[in-house]
Symmetry: C2
Subunit: 221 residues, 2 copies
């Protein structure tokens, strides 16, 4: 019985890592689609998101069954509780990648990104890909070392989000169309929220390892 | 022992209802602050959000303890699992109300809302208040009747969100400043997401009552 339980816990952990990996790939492709105005790639991101959604449901179900059948305690219970919380955040990261891809598709054949905003968004994309990969690694081999790394990348994303707003404010009236400004605003928000959700995951890892509900390493100011 | 357990489950339910109630109040105040450019009210929303965050932590902790000490099964287990999921959504609704209030504060003494967008946003605010109240009621006396009501209001919010983008696209170049357009975009997104999170809560109520992870009444297309 004990063995089955351990196998179940491992299956939950594996599934979280796989979801995180899919989300990293989705963000990489979404950024690439945005950079190259690549409709085909954008559509792939949109299609693939249903896989992440399905995995979330499976994971939640598996966690619920484990709670019902095994009544885990202590550290094992924390794994299941945080899996339930993490699946929300990781699913959302998939949605955010899909939203970026959807904007590419909606504007195609025009580019969703005006020339003057390419650089900042490619930096945002790079940081988002990095935070996704760090999260995947953190879930694959949980340790507190990865938590502040994720926090630092999230701060970079927050900074770049502010930079986008500064760039918008500096844009001359009429230089961009109102819809272009709305697109840029949403895109920036999607990247920034992707970082926030990675922090939510790392807060759960901190809870998992320390048993404390109040994140210290992964606190957001 | 059984009695303590029931009391604990009830405490969790009560706390969820109280959180939902605070979130409804926050959305009402945020909308009012936006309508009347009321700095004082906006600051109240921002300050009060920490209460909702604290309640979320307490609720999660309480749920974890209940799982550890009582190992609930069947319907009781579902209450605890969905409480863990619902707290994420309700906390986020508090954040979204705070974001609206923050925009009012940042732009004050100027109005965050240009004249031509007042009507649509007041309708959005009204719908968001309504969905918050429906959610509170649903949690107070759970029943499947409330689920499609919440879905219908969410659809209204989605429609108004699209309407805002249509209004933005119709705005003449240079008519509004780029920052004004960015503000409107974000505000609309906040109201729309508030509705999505209420749907997430109603999906959990559906799971609670039916035991099915796949929402039928509360599915989003």
């Amino acid at each position: 019985m004990r063995e089955v339980f351990k196998a179940e816990l491992e299956a939950i952990a594996d599934e979280l890592v796989e979801m995180a990996s899919k989300v990293s790939v989705a963000m990489r492709s979404a950024t690439e689609a945005l950079e190259n105005n690549d409709l085909e790639l954008a559509e792939k991101v949109i299609d693939n998101d249903t896989e992440i959604d399905t995995m979330t449901h499976e994971l939640d179900q598996r966690s619920a069954e484990l709670l019902a059948l095994q009544a885990p305690v202590a550290a094992d219970l924390r794994v299941v509780i945080s899996a339930l919380k993490m699946s929300v955040a990781i699913e959302r990261m998939g949605d955010l990648s899909r939203h970026i891809a959807s904007l590419v598709r909606i504007r195609h054949p025009q580019a969703a990104l005006p020339e003057g905003f390419r650089d900042v968004f490619m930096h945002m994309g790079e940081a988002a890909i990095r935070i996704g990969e760090e999260m995947e690694q953190l879930l694959d081999s949980p340790g507190l070392r990865g938590v502040p790394v994720i926090n630092a990348i999230d701060k970079e994303l927050d900074q770049m989000h502010l930079q986008v707003f500064a760039l918008i404010a500096d844009t001359g009236r009429g230089e961009l169309s109102p819809s272009q400004i709305a697109d840029i605003t949403l895109l920036s928000r999607y990247f920034e929220r992707f970082g926030d959700q990675a922090v939510n995951v790392s807060q759960q890892v901190e809870y998992l390892l320390t048993g404390s509900w109040v994140p210290e390493l992964s606190a957001k100011e």
